[in-house]
Each structure stands twice: as structure tokens, then as C-alpha cells.
């Protein structure tokens, strides 16, 4: 149940049979042929630069009994929250990887978690069709948001902390009032499961993406669709989020590419390739504490870093034995946390 030091994980949590995991892990998307794009692209590995990231493994956190689906740093940078298919959320210290507490209560595996902006509350979306709000310190449940008719896939707090957006397998997005726990609006967002939702830093827009290959931008206060983006090959988009300044979108698609979109121009401005992502949801993120990198996990157990401008692969981290589903960068320090189907959470540091 505790963290271990660097010498190799003692392991029972590594194997997860498909029968334990909710169905969407194994076969969320039927057949997608690998497009020629990924076969062609030769990621340039930069070797002559001196400002490359040099992350090394610092801590290994064990305790989850099934694959870990999401890992998130709190907004104040003190905690790490991990959610898993074993229906629990675990809280760890960000500084030293020490285990803090476990939050239980969902009926089925948890797909996504989000911290409130004051770092006191966590929202979690689960296969039991509910979104729950928890008090982190006491572990007690504050609100249960019911309304989705199928798995809840993704959840996000708005920057003010009074709204939650959740995306679901039932193809809709719901906006909830945190204080009263009621659904304020349902957006008929897509025609396939909604795989991710994210608010801009001023809370006025929500971006969502889906297995139908579309990325849509919504106005929070009126619920209207403002823009739709789609890539030519229609491959399912597994995750999308706003850049730190809210002007670009980062999307991960199941054709082994991570794309950066300028939504005002309506087109993709950068494509990052080299990793493998065809079946699972590998969440890409930005790391901006020193150097601006795009980080993503891959289905071969590795973690890739790309330079935002040049698209070169600047570092590859090895260490997981199975698909790396989630990565997150610390808001102020050079820390990275990663987790995947092997149930192990790893903290990487760059000194």
C-alpha cells in the first residue's frame, strides 16, 4: 500500500485481465487501420541541443489493484490524485510520493478525476454513470451528480469552481452546479461517446472531443456550439485540452498522432508522432515549467516528450510495463507523474 523506492516494483498489481476492466479499455474503438501518416513520419530525435529535458525516475507508487486511468496534480501542487479501475481514488504527497488516503464509494471503475481550483474537492466520473464530488481531506462524499444514461467518461471543474462539465458515453455533455448538485444544461454534443471535456482558463468555453473524430467548442453560458474541428482521416479523438493560454488545443488521436490546433484558424498547426496510440486513451499534456514540451504516454509503455515548435522527440522515458494511460506535469516544479494499465504510478523529476 505504500510507495517503494527505486529498485524495481514488487508486483501483483501488474496483471489486469480484461474481465476486471470495464469494457471501454479493451475495445473502445473497433477497427482503425493505421494510416500512412504514421508509417511515413520519421520523428527526428534531437541530439545536438543542450536544453533537452532530462527527467529521471524518482518514486514508484503502488497500491492500486487494477489499471490506473487518470493521474492529476492538485492546483496548489501539493498532492497527486490517482483514479483506477479498482473503483478507488488514492491521494499521495507530491513532494515525496507518500501515500495519504483512499477515497471509495463509486460502484464501478473510475475513468477521470479533476481537482477543484482551491484543491479542496475532487470530482470523479465513473462507469457507474455518476459524477461524484468528494472532500479530499475527509474522503467523504459531498455530492452525487446523477443524470447520465451511460458511462461517465470525463470531468472538469471550471476555474471559478462553481461549475462542473462531464462528458459521457451517452454522447452528451452535462454542465452541473456544484453547490446544489443539479444539472444546469445538457449539450447534445456528438454522435459518438464523448471522450474528454476541458474548460478554458477563464471558464467561458468548453472543448469536447469524441470517437467520431470531431472536436467542438462550446460557450459555457449559452450552451451553443461555437466551432467544430475535424481532421481529414476521421480517426477517433481520445483526448483534448486547451493550452495554458487558451489559444490552442492539444488533441490525441487514435492514429498515433498528437495534434496542436489553432482553433481561430480552424486547422492543425503541429503534429507530433513517434509513439503508438491506436486503442487506448493516452492523455497528452503540456509541460511548461522549464522549456515548453508536449508529453504523452504510449501503448508500448514509454513516455514521449516533444518540442512544441520543432516537433522533435526530445526525450523518451522507459519504465512502465504496459500502456501508459495518463501523464501530468506539476504546475510549478519540474515534476512529471505517469500511470497506466500496470497499476503503478511513477514520479519523474528533472533537477
Amino acid at each position: 500500500m505504500d510507495k517503494m523506492d527505486l529498485d524495481g516494483p514488487a508486483d501483483s498489481s501488474g496483471d489486469t485481465t480484461d474481465s476486471e476492466l470495464p469494457s471501454h479499455y479493451g475495445n473502445a474503438v473497433p477497427d482503425i487501420s493505421v494510416t500512412k501518416a504514421s508509417a511515413n513520419a520519421k520523428p527526428v530525435v534531437a541530439t545536438e541541443r543542450t536544453d533537452l529535458p532530462k527527467y529521471v525516475l524518482q518514486f514508484v507508487l503502488e497500491g492500486h489493484r487494477a489499471g490506473v486511468t487518470t493521474v492529476k496534480f492538485s492546483a496548489d501542487g501539493r498532492w497527486i490524485a490517482t483514479s483506477s479501475a479498482d473503483k478507488t481514488i488514492k491521494i499521495w504527497h507530491a513532494e515525496n510520493g507518500e501515500y495519504e488516503t483512499t477515497i471509495e464509494g463509486h460502484g464501478r471503475g473510475i475513468n477521470d478525476i479533476a481537482w477543484s481550483p482551491d484543491s479542496n474537492m475532487l470530482a470523479s466520473a465513473s462507469d457507474d454513470k455518476t459524477v461524484r464530488i468528494w472532500n479530499v481531506m475527509s474522503g467523504r462524499i459531498l455530492r452525487t451528480l446523477r443524470g447520465h444514461t451511460n458511462y461517465a467518461y470525463s470531468v472538469d471543474f471550471n476555474p471559478k469552481g462553481n461549475l462542473i462539465a462531464s462528458g459521457s458515453f451517452d454522447e452528451s455533455i452535462k454542465i452541473w452546479d456544484v453547490k446544489r448538485g443539479v444539472c444546469l444544461r445538457t449539450l447534445p454534443a456528438h454522435s459518438d461517446p464523448v471522450s474528454a471535456v476541458h474548460f478554458t482558463r477563464d471558464g467561458t468555453m468548453i472543448v469536447s472531443c469524441s470517437h467520431d473524430g470531431q472536436i467542438r467548442l462550446w460557450d459555457t453560458s449559452t450552451g451553443q456550439c461555437l466551432k467544430t474541428l475535424i481532421e481529414d482521416n476521421n480517426s477517433p479523438v481520445s483526448c483534448v485540452r486547451f493550452s495554458p493560454n487558451g489559444k490552442y488545443l492539444l488533441s490525441g488521436t487514435l492514429d498515433s498522432a498528437v495534434r496542436l490546433w489553432d482553433y481561430l484558424k480552424g486547422r492543425c498547426v503541429k503534429t507530433y508522432q513517434g509513439h503508438k496510440n491506436e486503442k487506448f486513451i493516452c492523455v497528452p499534456t503540456f509541460s511548461i515549467t522549464r522549456g515548453v514540451w508536449v508529453v504523452s504516454g504510449s501503448e508500448d509503455g514509454r513516455i514521449f516528450f516533444w518540442d512544441v515548435q520543432t516537433k522533435e522527440v526530445v526525450q523518451v522515458l522507459d519504465g512502465h510495463k504496459d500502456v501508459v494511460l495518463a501523464v501530468d506535469a506539476h504546475p510549478t516544479k519540474n515534476l512529471l507523474v505517469s500511470a497506466g494499465l500496470d497499476g503503478v504510478v511513477k514520479i519523474w523529476i528533472e533537477r
Binding site: A37, I133, T144, V178, M205, L226, L260, V292
Partner: protein
């Protein structure tokens, strides 16, 4: 940031014509938006002050403290403090971070209204019923009250008795005693505009507390003074329904327009906006007590006299169908489509993708710097923290679309 993607022409010409929400919490007598427009404070007839969150239309804070009906509300600039004055002769400054009372000031008579200084939440001006208007300052933990004169500045004879300060007795010999009914700070906080029961407007310097200018505007009471955002124009509302729009450029207080209220509304308030003053009159049955215009959106909130419910009018924008597909564009009339030279060329996927990837290399992307969007409210505004009590779980909500 949604302004970047919205249609600018659709935004600019809309009036709030649809009743979108009704807020029912007690009987509300007075409402006020904060500077950003995302919170609305409402004072109830039993003395409670309720703060509504206008993103969720739910209640953000309930502030209990007054024992009689709330007379007026005033927000601090950053939105963290709220000053309420009530018929129980007290003014309370609330800290919205947790709903606690920051300061309570007791007066010797009933209060018409109290306004906070636009930049300093520790100074406010109160207009009292049986007393002179008072400037209250509690900057260094002591409550200091400065009394201001209600008497207008005399410019012609009587130079000897021209004391800016007090001495209602002296004045009484010259003219009938008048009381100040409303006092408010200018947008910069440098002057105080005070309206009296005899129709005089007194301009008082807020540092020296001397009356620097007086002007007789009308013969009836001045009930309400309100400044426009730029601070240049004001509206005054009189006891007989007659609104005046005045432009004090270069201290020449000229009456620029006079609006005559068609229907007799004795107790109504008006908000400055030259276009839309009459919109609410036609649609509400009962008498309106307070109308407030949201400072940043086309949205109006009004309370009715009978029930005290707050009615919210806003614009309803229709769905823009062109946003649902990436290459749809809404056009006014049919456009002839002209094919490109290479429209039907067959390019093998590999080559097409390589071409696309090469084009990307030229773009410089900046994902970190934050740019201000023109038209958005960009000042720091206090966010009222959401406090969920653990006791009131089993808010087992259901889909209430």
C-alpha cells in the same frame, strides 16, 4: 475567450427582451450587480442579504445580520466586500470570503442609503433621514464619522457666512432647511454628489469635505443619482416621475435631456443607458421597485413590488448551425462555387500527408503567453469560494433540464 468566436454583429444590437429566469428567495427590496456582473446581491424585507451567482442562478451566500428591511447595497471594487444599510439604523460591511461581518456602524437616525468609495472599501458615505450626510472612515480600525453639510454653496451675497461645514442654524435663516436624501461618490472617488430634498445638487470634495459647487436642478426631491461607466453623465430621479440626464463637462452642470416618465412610478429607480430606459415598463404587471443592468452583458434584473421576486431579462441567441461543421459558412445569398485547378487531382495519401506536415513547420506557436481579449472584463474580480457543507448531502439530484 468566447468573444473571439462569436459573431460581432449579433452581439452588438441586442436588447434583453426575453424573461429568462425568475429568482425566488424571500421578498427582495433592493438589488445590485457587482462590478463584473457575475454576482447579484439582493436585500430582503426581513433584513437578510442574499448573493446570487449568475453563472448558475443559484445562491452563493446568505448574510444574516440586519433586523429590518434592507435599504441599499453597495459593492467594493474588487467584489469581495458588500455594504448594506437597513431600516434598523445600521450599516454592515460583509466579507464575502466566508460571509462574516467585517464592520458594523450604527447611526442615530434612519438611513436613506449608503455607498462605498469606489477604490477604498473602508470609506463610505451615508445619507441619513434626520441628520447630515456622514462620511464614515474606518481605515485604521477606528470608526470616524465626518458630517457634511446639506446646504448648498451660496455664490452671491452672504460671503461671511460661507462656511462649508455644519451650522444648519445659520443656513436656516437664509432659506428653508433641507436634508440630503442621496449621496454618492463620483467614479474616481474624488467628489461626492449629494442631492437634497429641495432639488439642489451639492458637489463636495471628499478629501477636504467642503462643498465646492451647488446647483439647483429642480424643485422637488432628488431621490437617486447614478453615474455612467465613464463617469461623465449622470441621471437623477425625482419624486415626481421625471428623469434628467445631465452632463457635467467642465463643471458646467447642464441639463442635457429630460425624460418624462409616461406612467407614474413614484418609487422607481432608473439605470443609465440612453437607449433602453423604457424596455421594462411594458412587460411587467406590478410596480417595479429596483432595476439593475448587468455591467458586462445584455441582461437586466428587476424586482417587483408585490412579491419581491427578481425577474431576469436576457437575450436568447439562436443556435448557429454553421458552427457544427468545420467548413460551413453562413452566406447571405447563393455563391457560385468555382473549382480549384487541382480539385480532382488524385494524390497518394503519403504525399498528401507529407505535404501537410511540411507546411506545419513554418508556424510559430506560443502556448504560454496570455493575451487580453478586447471587449472582455479583465480586472481581477473576487470569486466567492463555493463552500459545500457535508451535512447537506443527499442532494441526490436528478436531471432537471
Amino acid at each position: 475567450m468566447n468573444l473571439l468566436l462569436s459573431d460581432p454583429f449579433a452581439l452588438s444590437q441586442e436588447y434583453p427582451e426575453n424573461l429568462t429566469h425568475t429568482l425566488n428567495y424571500g421578498h427582495s427590496t433592493c438589488i445590485k450587480f457587482n462590478r463584473k456582473g457575475d454576482y447579484l446581491a439582493s436585500g430582503l424585507i426581513d433584513g437578510t442579504v442574499v448573493v446570487f451567482d449568475f453563472e448558475t442562478y443559484g445562491i452563493a451566500r446568505v448574510l444574516r445580520g440586519h433586523t429590518r428591511s434592507v435599504q441599499s447595497l453597495s459593492w467594493s471594487r474588487d467584489g469581495r466586500y458588500l455594504l448594506s444599510s437597513s431600516r434598523d439604523w445600521k450599516c454592515i460591511l460583509w466579507d464575502l470570503k466566508d460571509g462574516s461581518r467585517e464592520k458594523t456602524v450604527r447611526f442615530e437616525s434612519a438611513i436613506w442609503g449608503a455607498e462605498l468609495h469606489p477604490f477604498n472599501h473602508q470609506i463610505f458615505i451615508a445619507a441619513l433621514l434626520d441628520d447630515s450626510p456622514t462620511l464614515v472612515d474606518f481605515s485604521d480600525n477606528t470608526i470616524r464619522k465626518h458630517l457634511l453639510s446639506s446646504a448648498p454653496l451660496q455664490k452671491d451675497d452672504e460671503e461671511e457666512e460661507e462656511e462649508g461645514f455644519q451650522d444648519g442654524d445659520v443656513r436656516e435663516r437664509k432659506q428653508d432647511k433641507q436634508s440630503t436624501l442621496v449621496a454618492t461618490f463620483t467614479r474616481s472617488g474624488q467628489y461626492i454628489f449629494a442631492g437634497t430634498s429641495k432639488g439642489w445638487l451639492n458637489v463636495i470634495d471628499s478629501e477636504t469635505l467642503q462643498t465646492v459647487r451647488s446647483e439647483k436642478l429642480t424643485t422637488s426631491n432628488i431621490k437617486h443619482i447614478c453615474f455612467s461607466i465613464s463617469g461623465k453623465q449622470t441621471i437623477r430621479l425625482y419624486h415626481t416621475p421625471d428623469l434628467t440626464y445631465v452632463d457635467p463637462v467642465d463643471w458646467d452642470i447642464d441639463i442635457v435631456h429630460r425624460f418624462q416618465d409616461v406612467v407614474n412610478r413614484l418609487h422607481s429607480n432608473g439605470d443609465y443607458d440612453a437607449h433602453d430606459i423604457y424596455i421594462w415598463e411594458t412587460t411587467v404587471g406590478s410596480l417595479i421597485v429596483d432595476v439593475q443592468w448587468d455591467p458586462n452583458r445584455t441582461l437586466v434584473a428587476a424586482t417587483g413590488l408585490d412579491h419581491g421576486t427578481i425577474y431576469v431579462w436576457a437575450t436568447v441567441t439562436p443556435q448557429r448551425w454553421s458552427a457544427l461543421a468545420p467548413d460551413f459558412v453562413e452566406v447571405e445569398e447563393n455563391v457560385e462555387y468555382e473549382e480549384r485547378e487541382d480539385e480532382f487531382d488524385i494524390i497518394p495519401d503519403a504525399v498528401a500527408n507529407k505535404r501537410k506536415l511540411d507546411q506545419e513547420d513554418d508556424d510559430e506557436v506560443d502556448v504560454v503567453t496570455i493575451e487580453r481579449v478586447r471587449g472582455e472584463f479583465s480586472e481581477e474580480s473576487f470569486v466567492i469560494p463555493v463552500i459545500l457543507d457535508e451535512d447537506d448531502e443527499t442532494f441526490d439530484s436528478s436531471d432537471s433540464d
